[in-house]
Symmetry: C2
Subunit: 196 residues, 2 copies
DNA sequence: AAACGATACGGAACGCTGTTCCGCTTTGGC
DNA sequence: GCCAAAGCGGAACAGCGTTCCGTATCGTTT
């Protein structure tokens, strides 16, 4: 259960009690602020909400990406683990892919600005990008391979491009009632099908 | 030829000569800086490049959107005007749509950060968003309607969503060799086709 | 139990943004 | 040549991320 040795975020062992407590307080505060103000909320807001100084945030989470990852780690893990399951429980690989993509889109769309943050080129976010890729790309690849093997989709697209495309389509989806990211993603996945 | 009365940017008449000259200098400088640093380049950079003070920029272009619009107006107009032409010269409406989308994507992809700026919710960019919509949405609608009338595409998607989707897919396309926005957009447009 | 070194904390301070504002300069009609 | 009006420059302000260091707290050691 002890996840010491993680590269990002929260090593559990060998820390002072108050530090661990603060870390948890910070995670809770960040989660709350992310819901209301999005993942790009000012650092000071999160610090204030947690009742700590700004320096404390940076000690626990050197970059904003580390904080975001720590907050959403569980959900990303769940999404990653759902992939293989869907592959066994779905009638066809393409159906599994569709369902998994739905899961991913739901996750992105419900987190204000997460999709946008994933795309930001500005420094400090490559870690976030890398984490999502590390964790989800293998899953997506496997689903895509399975669908390709069963002849349901045409070749020529790799999982990286698909995931970036999906992520991009989810940008700004939460603020625009006229824009339905799920629909467009569904269209994109439909475009993957073998024409025959 | 005189576009006085435009809501955005540069009215030509009734200005002092030096002001007009500065406006042009500013446009040239902005165009140059946009190429190297993207459309989100610091205002001071543009001012320095043009050899003027920052106040001068804000007098001519109250918001950054106004400046961007002024710089790219010609190309947006060209894109808008190409729509009807393509409809008459292409074999099918869907082919016209494909070509027009290519045009639009090429435009977005070659301008650093333009697609991202179009999506930004932060204040000051709604004008940019609105300009693109005002100018290009009718064109896209007409192409879409023609394709729908000929039975080539399935209904259920409106031009607004399509354009937002295309814009989103173009975000970050210039900095990632592994990401091919054109390909994904093509896939999306392919997903529009009537399955039969 | 008291003292002490290590650890962590808070928030002031810095640098970089956009944006505004006002004293000074330039222009163009008289 | 003169003078109001128009325009200009850049200092000044505000909001952000990030760093840094004096101070407070913790856990261990005597």
């Amino acid at each position: 259960m002890n996840d010491s040795g993680r590269s990002t975020g929260s090593a559990a062992g060998s820390k002072r009690k108050d530090a661990l407590r603060n870390q948890q307080t910070l995670l809770d505060a960040a989660a709350a602020v992310f819901v209301t103000s999005g993942v790009e909320a000012p650092v000071r807001d999160i610090a204030t909400k947690a009742g700590v100084g700004t320096g404390t945030i940076y000690r626990h989470f050197p970059t904003r990406a580390d904080l975001i990852i720590a907050v959403y780690r569980h959900q990303v893990e769940a999404c990653a683990e759902a992939g293989p399951d869907l592959l066994t429980t779905s009638p066809t690989p393409h159906a599994a892919l569709e369902q998994w993509v739905d899961l991913f889109v739901d996750f992105l769309v419900t987190k204000h600005g997460l999709a946008a943050a994933l795309r930001t080129d500005s420094c400090g976010f490559e870690t976030l990008h890398a984490y999502f890729l590390d964790r989800l790309l293998p899953v997506c690849t496997r689903l895509l391979d399975a669908a390709a093997a069963s002849g349901e989709i045409r070749p020529g697209i790799d999982a990286y491009q698909l995931m970036r495309g999906i992520g991009n389509l989810c940008i700004g989806a939460e603020n625009d009632p006229r824009y339905d990211a799920r629909h467009l993603v569904a269209l994109l996945v439909a475009g993957l099908r073998q024409p025959s």
